[in-house]
Symmetry: C4
Subunit: 250 residues, 4 copies
């Protein structure tokens, strides 16, 4: 199957922008995406399972199940602005191959919906972070770079790992425009403060005026979800190795 996308609805969208929000450093993108979905009351239109996600289910308190999954939400703007597609999930793919596959499949789908602009958010891991973290940016082209720099971001120096970097790179190859916002973070826990500052910049760029007052609650919710998938623990643990074979015997 590699990557299975269950399409619930194919929305008609106005020149939509894709915002990537998978778990990563400081969980900045993940909290941001969940917050946007909640505040904008965005609608889930596609569910994605990948053979490169973990092969287990986790249970909820009432005996329900949650699986490693990505989802796409849309938000249609009433103010005539560009619509949004929000890419949320409780995991990235576990292998390089899976990351490319996942990113390629999502790009296929959103391009079909008319998307020509992609934004990824991420944490930029630092040993120390000031109360107001710096926000860095890298973009596919000079024009976009100038737009985002004008919002008070700095030039990103270094690698952008995982889906955040891949989305910009594969987007550029497909002649999409886009940028990556990287917020300073210690990176060890779901960082509400970093997310708040990152979302402020994104909010200005998109002209959304999203309420950030309940962001701490979103960070807590993100923490719970990711703990249930063992992702938070992974960050804290120094060397967590899983067995490749026979892992169903424990």
């Amino acid at each position: 199957m590699v990557c299975r996308i269950e399409i619930i609805e194919k929305p008609q969208l106005n020149d939509p922008i894709l915002i990537e929000g998978l778990p990563g450093i400081g969980f900045v993108a993940n909290i941001a995406a969940l917050h946007l979905i909640g505040e904008l009351k965005a609608t889930c239109f596609a569910e994605i399972a990948s053979a490169s996600f973990q092969d287990f289910a986790v249970t909820t308190e009432s005996g329900g199940t949650r699986s490693p999954m990505n989802e796409l939400y849309y938000y249609k703007r009433s103010d005539g602005g560009r619509d949004l597609i929000i890419w949320y999930g409780n995991t990235q793919a576990l292998t390089t191959f899976g990351q490319y596959e996942l990113c390629g499949k999502v790009l296929d789908l959103v391009q079909e919906l008319g998307c020509r602009c992609v934004i990824s958010i991420g944490g930029f891991k630092k040993e120390e972070v000031p109360a107001v973290p710096a926000i860095y940016c890298a973009a596919t082209d000079e024009e976009t770079m100038k737009e985002v720099m004008d919002l008070g971001t700095k030039v990103m120096m270094g690698h952008i790992f995982g889906i955040a970097g891949l989305l910009i790179g594969l987007g550029k190859l497909r002649r999409l425009k886009g940028f990556s916002l990287l917020v300073e973070t210690l990176g060890m826990y779901p960082d509400a403060n970093a997310t708040r500052h990152g979302l402020s910049v994104l909010d200005k760029y998109l002209g959304l005026d999203v309420d950030l007052s309940k962001l701490d609650a979103t960070a807590d919710q993100t923490k719970k979800v990711l703990e249930s998938f063992g992702l938070i623990k992974n960050v804290a643990e120094e060397k967590k190795k899983e067995e490749q074979q026979m892992r169903w015997f424990i």
Copy 2:
């Protein structure tokens, strides 16, 4: 080839339920499936080889060969109840990728045969297990959860590994209903007692009235098959092999 399914027969089935019974913790599912196949005289209608199974053949006492293999059996009920599809095998896939592929292919086939409900069975590993082991449950939806709780099961807390968890998760993504039964077990050997208690609950759910008197013999048979494939030994051994880490966390 990835996954090759050799279809022997495409049975006409009445709203069939899939019961997964591959080797796993305590081999509960594996013994249960083999016992159901034997007692119900179920018919094998498909054989599955996967490129993610081990690449060897094992020999039988008379010089015959057995290969790593999964099989699907059907049981047509004469009492007007829902028919059964039993998923039996001597191995799960060895990689996460292979697990998804295998589960996806089996779901493709059983959905083609009209299946809308999936059940997985598993062991829930505990350090100590009472004579009457507790049975835990997780389900795709509240209604199913209530039905299974009414049979005396408890709410499952934690991860459901391997095909048992994947089946519920991928089933839910495909809008199937289903649940997973997890029986307390030490998990180190084919656990006939755990299987007996698990099968009792399953039997009540399905209204089958299966004879469990020869279950110890089925457990012995399971042990022999799995020993020949080196699976029992694997359980005892401490050595673990590593899987892909969450490489997008730096």
Copy 3:
């Protein structure tokens, strides 16, 4: 590409038997296949490259190149007997996945040519081997088993690793008949003696009357080819590890 088969010719064959002869324990199959090809003047009709072979080329003394490769040869019998397809190569696939893929592709092709019987040869590693090594057998069915036992072979006990086991297993899944001949060998070098005894049995089974007088020369030739691919060294070395990434920097 996974597996690329370059078909040179599609021969018309009379109920052909496939004989597998890739490098393995004691290189028994590899020497046997090369010897049959030479003595029978068999014709190469297909070349196979797999993405699961090693990614290098080796040079010959005159500056030519050899690549990891499998080949299929045919031999049309003038005595009215069943024709032969000989599967020769300088490597097996390096991963389980690749082994299945390779074996599946070869079976696809030979079945298209009418093949319904497969034979694999292998070494059975022992600490000590008598001057006349014992020959073991495992078969897909009782009738075939009886035929091969009548030639003086013993019942094989244990695992048949790699392509030798896979061919019998995947063949059986496809309803082919077949058997595996396993000759006692120390397994550390190309074993001409083990091959001679194995070929004698095969020769009797096929009624070929192949000249074995130059078998030592064939073993030497096999040794040279495999040394150039680093395979002999691998057997002797205790733990030869290669790097997964960036292996093109050395």
Copy 4:
């Protein structure tokens, strides 16, 4: 996606020759390709991303992004000679599987453009290298070998790793002609001197008369690009990662 080729233009070419120039030992091929592209003002007509490249983006000084990527350039000769296709990139694939896939896809495309001849360049790692490094050669056929030997090269002895070897091997399987030029190098840094001598031979073979005076600048440029992708560091580091062993030997 495995391998995604973005074709910008399908040029009409006159019996073109493919020259491979990916990073490898001493970065000889990589510098040579970049230099040819610059001096000949070759035109990029295809961009290639592979799921076997690294999954990150690197940033430029101005906040732009660069991704792991391969590119194909063409150069149409006005002197009636055979046109050139130059295969440039900042990485090879990270896995054996990916290497085969990448090489297969490129061969598919260039064969479609009429290519029947492939040339790979590489470093031949030595402990000591004289001021005028020796240049070794291996070819698909005797005629080509003679042509290249006549330019002062020696017979290559040993393995040709990575894409350089694969291209010749897979090319030969497809009945293409070709050769590999291997220049002595210490292999630890982008070796402008080795590249100069290699390019001289290539230049003579192709009758190009390329200006080599700015080759040191090209080597510096290559160094910068590869450092940003962490490839130069990799060469210096001792740590090796293991690949699949010949697991069918027990």
